[in-house]
Symmetry: C2
DNA sequence: TAGATTGTTAATCGATTAACAATC
DNA sequence: TAGATTGTTAATCGATTAACAATC
């Protein structure tokens, strides 16, 4: 590292970066060359102040009177997020959700390559999921090592989630995406992101109730 | 409403409620009758202060020296989240993700009943997804009205997401779960929760990079 | 009783917003 | 040039944490 040491961004900022990226990506495809903090704010429901504050963490500068160049902004956002290089994933759990992710083209298109699908159920092992075949758990570690997989996706039932997390960490992944409706504990050096659809639906239920009650 | 008007909870608290619920549900099934704020904090990686602060919003009291009764806590959390009554959903987009959700048993088990799967592609309409058949978009509004559906799940490609959101709102749902990698705009009275797996993976990529860089 | 744990207030910490000089 | 927009500082707002009296 011969760059100036940058401290890690505040959590709320990190969560907004993918949203900026989506929006800027769309703008660029629509042929827009410049975008102002106000435009971004309007599109994403933020204030221009927040947008400028967030973008000031990035390794680029805007221009007075014009804003930010969409092409540069997209590249810099990708770089900051670390999605300018390929990530390799394995999916554990070949149920409906696991299979759907393996087949979901959008992940590959955005730099997340599925390198394997695993299941501990012998009846599922060997069946096809797109171009891949479901492999037994004994193959997990060798595949992760050989293919330099850095992300494990947990798509198993609640009761198996923690154990699978430990197997993945033990096999050498650096990050986990958890789709199971369970709280998973990981060592400090492992990054965990939850993507629990059921929790999102429950949050939604609260929101609906709150709106209804206030009337 | 003859209860004291309760103001809506802070956003961070709302997002923690499903986590408390999962944990308490597990404890109760393991036979635990009481749990302290410290126990919960340890299990979920919070401070006991945060836990007590959060639970003080709920319509229940703990007991000195013992903590919170798990059975009561589970019920009260379910009530506060609004998941003590059935929610009805429709899924728009019968691709891999949409189908996986329709088939995913966990949603129904937790009170979210799938009442319909829709797709605008005529080649997909009529095919089976579990016990349901994919219906054409023309059926969206009648089904939502007749079955009193309150939640719409958006599982379509990016470019169709906003339009589908508008069709769902127009058809009368109160809340939207967005799985598409797009920013969706909704009127004030509609609750929107994003569950974008790609955004979660990008957040994960950032985390991995941050840990790696700091070493 | 002694001690563990709640519920709540006050202090701290962090994130968002407002404001404005600098600049293109 | 005049005006729009950035980048940044300071003010505000909100969330978390610490502390402790009340209580079982």
């Amino acid at each position: 590292m011969n760059e100036v040491k940058r401290k890690t961004l505040p959590k709320p900022v990190i969560r907004r970066l993918p949203r900026y990226l989506t929006h800027v990506h769309e703008l660029r495809h629509a042929g827009r060359e410049w975008v102002s903090s106000q435009d971004i704010a309007d599109a994403l429901g933020l204030t221009s102040s927040t947008v400028r504050q967030d973008l000031s963490y990035l390794d680029m500068a805007g221009k007075s009177k014009r804003g930010y160049e969409t092409q540069t902004l997209e590249l810099v956002l990708q770089h900051e997020l670390g999605v300018d290089s390929l990530h390799r994933t394995v999916i554990v759990g070949a149920g409906y959700m696991g299979s759907a992710l393996a087949l979901h083209g959008a992940l590959a298109e955005h730099g997340f390559e599925t390198c394997g699908v695993f299941d501990k159920d012998g009846r599922v092992v060997g069946t096809r999921v797109g171009e891949l075949r479901v492999q037994p758990m004994t193959e997990l570690k060798p595949v992760i090592k050989n293919k330099k997989v850095d992300i494990g996706i947990i798509a198993v039932p609640v009761h198996a989630a923690q154990e699978v997390a430990e197997q993945l960490v033990n096999a050498g992944v650096n990050g986990l995406l958890n789709l199971a409706y369970a709280h998973i504990r990981v060592p400090d050096h492992i990054t965990l992101v939850d993507a629990r659809i059921l929790a999102s639906l429950q949050e939604l239920a609260y929101g609906i109730k709150a709106v209804t009650d206030s009337k």
